[in-house]
């Protein structure tokens, strides 16, 4: 009898539109309700139906910060997923496949890329195995992987009979069956799978009932037909645990914006940002602690130009306003981004980075927009660029972004990426008492404001460079905003002295921000703070690195991680003491040129010893970085290291 395992990497694959997400959702909810920690990552094409997608769900009795590329239990119901992922399953793990896929020629898989097919065929050739799914299953067996042939058609036929519905209706439970067969193999308590189903379709009793029947049948089927003796994984629930949120990055950002008092978001649909606005719109009203009803207005605009334009208009009228987009959308926004800088107007732009250049890879991850965010827009003007490294950070940062924007009256870019947008994770319930609101310097109308006939000096020169800001509609506050160089009242002015003073007023605010923002908000140190093995990173790579350095520690190699959270103004001076003692220094980022490495050189003059990049459009995992760091520690690594996995 197999022992309980500490963690499990489960993968489900299938054509888009076939319910892969639903299956992963049920499995994640079942595990999360059972008190397990969950980390999910989703890979998919820019396609609605037919192309291959897959979902990795890693579950454990300890907190997780990253996914795994290796798989303990693979669930498939069609031959393409079986073909793509069979080789990723570890010895002692298992593959569940549809009986009718036992011997399928790769030529039948129309969406399987020629390169992947050729690689798999070469692999099988080298082993003298047939170049079909049968060959892959044989290879799996030889590697000690259990293969379970499941006749899904017969099971749904039987289910249809039991429920008194046609087979075509019973076929809709295929995702649930796949989850339940996995769960049964793991001897995971059935009642939690049922809870996962109830949470997936709340209030839709008919669907729930049908799916519960499918669960019963799946457990029955496994008990009666499958030999689980050599399958080495078993997962049980946690007896006691706090209830946690299960959410993805889009939702974490949306919740952070709501918590941070954002009341207006305008957006143009773009992958992978759209789900954030969808979530906001679906949850657009909420209570306020003063007993009133709060709300957020969400507007879908005609383009990204309008998306930032409306947000700016709303910001001028007093709203905390934002937009969410990706690189191509930000490209359209840059003229107004510069307007925001010129007019000292607080606005937050969440950029979900995806593969570039141009349209690039809309549904794959990348960190190629860092320098664009820092440099985008015509002319010199201050902006703050921040990046989150986890879903918790994404929540608190999304709220904090408005404080920076309003305190310094600058546009703020909050960088996340596709990987984080679709990572799902169990997190502790966010603590709203920690969410502070700082609206910065605001104009307050005096008692005689209505009688005022003079324009208000909105851009008046002050010691800090920050001038109190009236909202459109406030008495006594009338003035002008303009993208043209202007006087304190916002009148067009090209006087060289006024010009110099205005440039200084605006640009000095970035020095103020640099001075005022506490170091711990600029970057965080993880691992062993005294270690010389120094890893630097920004954004969503953090979780993978944390796991990798934990494993290094177990190998007796202490390492520390410097995660830069505010990329502009860049905390160069504060980083220098760490760079001085770094041996080696390793920078990890998911882009081609090493954009943070360039920034680091510019701001500190330091070059890193090793630049670790990945630009396949897939995120780093803890296990892949662990291998990289081990090689670096052994002195066996090049200066530039490209992390690759041809089968992701």
């Amino acid at each position: 009898m197999a022992k309980q395992t500490e963690e499990l990497a489960w993968r489900v694959g299938g054509p888009q539109g076939s319910g892969v997400d639903t299956a992963a959702g049920i499995f994640q909810r079942a595990c999360a309700i059972g008190g397990l920690h969950v980390f999910g990552r989703r890979e998919y094409y820019s396609n609605i139906k037919g192309r291959h997608s897959y979902y990795d769900v890693r579950v454990a009795h300890h907190p997780l910060t990253t996914h795994r590329e290796s798989v303990d239990l693979l669930t498939t119901f069609e031959p393409e997923s079986l073909t793509r992922h069979a080789m990723a399953v570890v010895p002692g793990g298992a593959i569940i496949f549809n009986s009718k896929d036992a011997n399928v020629a790769f030529s039948r898989l129309i969406y399987l890329e020629n390169r992947i097919r050729a690689d798999i065929e070469a692999y099988l050739d080298a082993k003298g195995l047939p170049k079909t799914t049968a060959g892959l299953l044989e290879d799996a067996k030889q590697r000690g992987v259990q293969v379970y042939s499941v006749p899904y058609d017969e099971i749904t036929k039987e289910l249809g009979k039991r429920l008194g519905v046609p087979k075509a209706i019973a076929d809709r439970t295929l995702n649930t069956l796949a989850v339940a067969i996995s769960a049964a193999l793991l001897e995971f308590p059935k009642e939690y799978v049922i809870k996962g189903i109830e949470k997936t379709w709340p209030g839709r009793q008919k669907i729930i009932d049908m799916n519960i029947q499918a669960v019963e049948l799946a457990y029955e089927y496994v008990r009666e037909n499958l030999d689980t003796e050599h399958f080495q994984f078993r997962m049980d629930v946690e007896a006691e645990h706090p209830p946690r949120l299960l959410l993805n990055g889009n939702q974490a950002v949306a919740l952070g914006k709501m918590a941070g008092g954002m009341t207006f978001q305008s957006y143009y649909p773009i992958s992978p940002a759209t789900d954030e606005s969808f979530f906001l719109e679906a949850n657009n009203t909420f209570p306020l602690r003063n007993g009133q009803q709060g709300n957020v207005v969400v507007v879908q605009t005609e383009d990204e130009i309008s998306a930032i334009g409306m947000a700016l208009g709303a910001a001028l009228a007093g709203a905390r306003a934002a937009t969410a987009t990706s690189g191509p959308g930000f490209a359209l926004m840059t003229e107004m981004f510069s307007w925001a800088g010129a007019n000292e107007t607080p606005v937050v732009i969440t950029i979900y980075q995806r593969g570039g250049p141009s349209t690039g890879m809309p549904t794959r991850t990348d960190q190629g927009d860092l320098l664009f965010a820092i440099r985008g827009g015509q002319g010199d003007f201050p902006r703050i660029v921040m990046a989150s490294g986890s879903l918790e950070e994404a929540f608190y940062d999304a709220a904090q972004a408005f404080n920076y924007a309003e305190r310094y009256q600058v546009p703020v870019v909050h960088l996340v990426d596709k990987a984080m947008s679709s990572y799902t994770q169990t997190v502790d319930v966010f603590d709203l008492s920690k969410v502070k609101i700082d609206r910065g310097a605001l104009y307050k109308p005096g008692p005689d404001a209505e009688q005022s006939t003079k324009p208000y000096p909105r851009f008046q020169f002050t010691e800090t460079g920050i001038s109190p800001r009236p909202f459109l509609g406030q008495p006594g506050g009338t003035h002008w905003y303009t993208g043209v160089e202007h006087t304190v009242e916002g009148r067009v002015n090209e006087d060289p002295v006024i010009r110099e003073m205005m440039m200084e007023k605006r640009c000095n605010k970035i020095q103020l921000a640099k001075k005022e923002i506490p170091t711990e908000e600029k970057f965080q140190v993880y691992g062993d703070p005294n270690a010389s093995f120094t890893i630097l990173t920004w954004g969503s790579n953090k979780g993978a690195i944390l796991e990798a350095i934990e494993r290094l520690k177990n190998d007796g190699i202490p390492a520390r991680l410097l995660q830069v959270r505010i990329l502009w103004p860049f905390p160069g001076e504060e980083l220098i003491p760490y760079l001085e003692t770094a041996k080696p220094s390793v920078l990890v980022e998911a882009n081609y040129t090493g954009q943070m490495a360039q920034l680091l050189r510019q701001e500190t003059t330091y070059d890193v010893d090793h630049l670790v990049v990945k630009y396949s459009g897939r995120p780093f995992s803890g296990e892949s970085l662990y291998e990289v760091f081990k090689n670096i520690a052994a002195g066996k690594a090049d200066q530039r290291i490209v992390v690759r996995n041809p089968m992701e």
């Binding site: 334009g309 609101i437 506050g477």
Partner: protein, 323 residues
């Protein structure tokens, strides 16, 4: 609110104490005077007015209003104005935008604005040329026409802004003439009071660059009678009755199109379309967002005295809580 011909407050309160740098004789002077008179007749406190301009000569208009004035980017006053109005639905939100601003670089926003019907007053300065860049053809200059600033006759046709406004859903559509300040102010009062998106096409000579459609041309010096005439004086009824049948709508659209197509010898001004039967975007938001008008985005309290967020996300967390 009944608005008389007499100002409730002096139009002077809307005049800031700065020099104006439009060319002498520019139609823009008439437009800005009419706007000041319209607001004065309505008695709108100047801080409740926000004027959004684009780029070009029209984009200077907001500087000549002693209200909130927002000089946005080329073609972009509509997005800014929309955001501001939705954040503060009590704001008198006025867009001043040129023909190139509206129907060239900003045409996408022009179209989208019609679909939304936000309560904005959209005043289009229509002189058929790009003045500030020295006289190139604007999207309203007819095909084949060559003004003195152009190297060759116009190779592109003109957009009919009135028809585009109808096609995209503007609920009030009118046209005025920049040198008819009194008539223009009347139209502006109606446009501002209209509950929804109002489009006012203001035709105006450009004495510097448009040497074809000049003041004299509009006055019909060449044909012995004025080219401009009032739709309303001829009995044109722009009002779309509540619950109008398809037949009535067809008839209304037909008369609209006939009048909107008139040009050259007879050019109609007045109200072309007045439809109160389409909900405003603000109403649509309120329907989906209870509490919107009480707590619009620009005025919603978001923090307590300690600076802690007032937002309570418990009901949202509930949906994501795994218990």
């Amino acid at each position: 609110m009944a608005v008389g011909a007499k100002p409730k407050i002096s139009p002077k309160v809307y005049k800031p104490d700065y020099p104006i740098d439009w060319c002498p004789g520019c139609g823009d002077y008439g437009i800005i005077s009419a706007l000041q008179q319209a607001l004065a007749r309505m008695g709108v406190p100047r801080h409740q007015v926000a004027v959004f301009g684009g780029i070009g000569c029209s984009g200077k208009a907001q500087y000549y209003m002693n209200t909130y004035g927002i000089h946005t980017l080329h073609g972009r006053p509509v997005p800014f104005a929309t955001g501001a109005r939705l954040a503060n639905p009590e704001l008198y939100t006025i867009v001043v935008s040129g023909d190139g601003d509206s129907l060239g670089i900003g045409a996408g926003h022009f179209v989208a604005a019609g679909r939304r019907n936000v309560n904005l007053t959209y005043i289009m300065f229509n002189n058929e040329v790009y003045g500030l860049t020295k006289g190139q053809a604007a999207p309203t200059l007819p095909l084949g026409m060559r003004t003195k600033a152009m190297a060759a006759p116009n190779m592109q046709g003109a957009v009919n802004g009135l028809m585009l406004a109808l096609a995209t859903g503007y609920t009030w559509i009118g046209r005025g003439y920049a040198y008819d300040i009194r008539g223009l102010a009347d139209l502006m009062v109606q446009a501002i009071q209209h509950p929804g998106l109002a489009f006012l096409d203001v035709i105006q000579p450009c004495p510097t660059y448009n040497d074809i459609h000049t003041k004299e041309w509009y006055a019909g010096k060449d044909i012995g009678r004025p080219r401009l005439y009032s739709l309303q004086e001829e009995g044109y009824d722009p009002v779309i009755p509540e619950g109008a049948s398809q037949e009535v709508m067809n008839q209304k659209m037909l008369q609209f199109l006939q009048k909107a197509a008139e040009w050259d010898d007879r050019i109609p001004i007045g109200v072309f379309w007045d439809n109160h039967n389409i909900s405003t975007f603000e109403d649509r938001i309120a329907e989906r967002t209870p509490g919107y008008f009480e707590n619009p985005p620009g005025r919603q309290p978001i923090a307590d005295e300690d600076g802690t967020t007032l937002v309570d996300l418990t009901p949202v967390f509930e949906k994501l809580l795994m218990a």
